[in-house]
Point group: C2
Chain length 417, copies 2
């Protein structure tokens, strides 16, 4: 009956118990708490990628992404990969072998960009700044000019340090350079919280992740390619060195072309999740969403000072989404982090690279940016520092945050569940 | 209060209605019907990728994948991308620029392998066969020998044609060649249904997709790298041309190394889905699962003959998972496909490439390989062909399938929900 003999050697199936993951409060650098509406959206019936109903959903996702990116770029879609895959998609398309590339490095993700750019044959000039600082625009622009850069890339929101990179001066300066470098911006931890202004600034390629301030699970990377980027890619002498992440192939699949060209099998649950997450962003509106992030960040910042420590990133350049909290003298970064997980079910991130052992990384993004989460974090930190004999009043952090909320406007209503 | 002015230009959020996708019977080439237990698993609380509980889940996924691949390879994990990304991961790691590569091309996916291999600098020798046939092992081996191939790749289950490629003779023959080419096998549409014997055959790299016979949503690509592949990759003079899909970086993230090296943010819902899908495979057991696929394929094949047509792929080399049904003279491939979707909610696939307009592609894989689905498909096809005046008895297909079931053993119980 069968076309081939069924032989499976002597394989024994492993005995694996059903999943039973605990519920965590996800206040690390990501993943962040997924909105309950997003969880429910994932349970909708799976559609094939050629189904007319699915193609409508794809078009809506692009529309919503254009709104959050601040762009009219037709080529705007989610890369079928995590934010790391989005970074690779941006750079592997933008950089042709031999291209001079300038990259700002003030944290882990700038460094990762350098590693990728070198893999793709870029001749990289690094513009370094201490972790927690931002890249001085004038130094970045000078390096771009001196190297004849064809591509210039920075990280808008450096998840490893909590620093927010100003973009406007760099964006404007790059446009005046004779080589007209493509401007590539990593918005993984800013999109959906901080303003991202692709068209107003003239950003050529921007990408993000689904699991940060958009509050969907990871697995998709929103990206947008502007007309200058598309022209550059189309004119490459050597083809793009990736098939999976090739902009033209992806655009034929996700774009307005009819019939769509088959490229990959879109993950319906992830697309549904992103669709619902973006609808929630649109309902709240970007200005209200930014204000909410700013308010909770500010209250948390004051709470941290109430705990007797401070944020690491320089004032005036701090992310609202990701806070680097300096570990007070006498405290043990890893031990406190572990106790938060074990005793409170709270996940936070450890310091990386230059900040290893020196900071805790605390994310308050998207659905996670709520007053109750600020209170929980400060209460837990306060208790642990108090137990370690490093803080007289365990409630000092929460009290400081509460004063901040009392002084400001009341917290805007969260999106209804 | 905020670190930067909140400006969003004059953006207006698009008005997008909530998702309401219809339920489809997914009998195309993929995605396939997701098992209800898998849908429920996706709703479990999201964990961070550094959470000890998540790392346990990752280890279990690797164990289960080793079982279905038939391997003890330590480097066995899901690539954070669709099956297309798995193909790219296999080839971008295996092929160094300038390497002679031999690829069997008897359908769309063999052709895609050629496109990718050329992107990665491979000097490709194609071994072509008509769509629906298999690659003759002796021709493939002769081409590998003549070209001094460093990498040799075939598609085990050609989703575009329904053909199952015999692997043993090629696998054995390649081992005798002086250049000892790496043997790369695309198992996207075979893993979890047809036997895949990585260690017994000496396959060096095999990859698959989550949304075929494993019955999870798409978005992850199971892959396994054997010791010869890892040695070859580690010894490359030029580094792997991808960061996202770099085997060594992915293995440091997903493998047994402690501490794990950060690489990307794993998509917890997709990992949960794959974990549950693989547990279901282990519960049923691979031999019983293969037998179920074979039985339903055979009944469907006889039903197709009852409809007055036949399968396109050559007898003896037919997939159990994906059937290419010849469109009878007088029938309109696209119109029937569209009526199945509109009137029955059934998704099937269209013929591609050499088979465009000539076949329907009907998937019966994983959870979808059920007697009731065979009956539904044959009933719907029978009715449409009858209405078109191409079939006297609309029930002839179902009747033929029923005779097949009656002659064989009764259908094994499906995995309980």
């Amino acid at each position: 009956m069968a076309d081939a003999a069924v032989t499976f050697g002597d394989r024994t199936p492993p005995q694996v118990a059903p999943l039973n993951p605990p519920e965590r409060s996800l206040f690390g650098p990501g993943p962040t708490p997924v909105h309950p509406r997003v969880m429910r959206a994932m349970a909708a019936p799976v559609l094939g990628h050629l189904d007319p109903d699915f193609q409508q959903i794809m078009a809506e996702v692009s529309d919503l992404l254009r709104y959050v990116f601040g762009t009219t770029n037709p080529v705007t879609f989610p890369v079928p990969a995590t934010g790391t895959g989005g970074m690779e998609a941006a750079l592997v398309n933008a950089i042709a072998p031999g291209d001079p590339v300038v990259i700002g490095v003030n944290g882990y993700f700038g460094n990762r960009m350098v590693q990728m750019a070198e893999k793709f044959g870029g001749q990289v000039t690094r513009v370094d700044a201490p972790w927690g600082e931002v890249i001085p625009p004038e130094r970045f622009l000078a390096a771009a000019r001196a190297s004849g850069a064809r591509v210039a890339a920075v990280v808008h929101a450096e998840t490893s340090t909590g620093a927010l990179q100003p973009l406007a001066e760099i964006a404007h300066g790059l446009r005046d350079l004779p080589e007209a470098p493509l401007f590539v911006v990593d918005c993984v931890t800013s999109l959906g919280a901080h303003p991202v202004e692709v068209d107003a600034l003239g950003i050529d390629i921007a990408y993000s992740g689904s699991q940060k301030a958009l509050s969907a699970p990871s697995g998709l990377s929103p990206i947008t390619f502007g007309p200058r980027a598309i022209e550059r890619i189309a004119g490459r002498a050597r083809p793009v060195g990736s098939w999976y992440l090739d902009e033209a192939l992806l655009a034929s699949y996700w774009g307005d072309a009819r019939p769509r060209a088959y490229h990959h099998t879109a993950s319906a649950p992830l697309v549904y999740a992103l669709h619902e997450a973006l609808r929630i962003v649109a309902e709240e509106g970007l200005p209200a969403r930014a204000e909410r992030h700013a308010r909770n960040h500010e209250a948390f910042r004051r709470g941290v000072e109430g705990l007797g420590t401070e944020l690491h990133a320089r004032e005036g350049h701090r992310l609202w989404t990701l806070n680097t909290v300096r570990v007070p003298a006498g405290a043990d970064m890893a031990a406190t982090q572990r106790r938060l997980l074990d005793e409170y079910g709270i996940e936070i991130g450890a310091g990386m690279g230059e900040l290893a052992g020196k900071v805790w990384r605390v994310g308050l993004m998207g659905y996670g940016s709520q007053r109750r989460n600020v209170a929980l974090l400060l209460a837990a930190f306060g208790e642990l520092l108090h137990e370690d004999g490093l803080l007289a009043d365990a409630g000092a952090g929460v009290a400081a945050a509460n004063r901040a909320y009392a002084q400001g406007a009341k917290e805007p209503a969260l999106v209804a569940d």
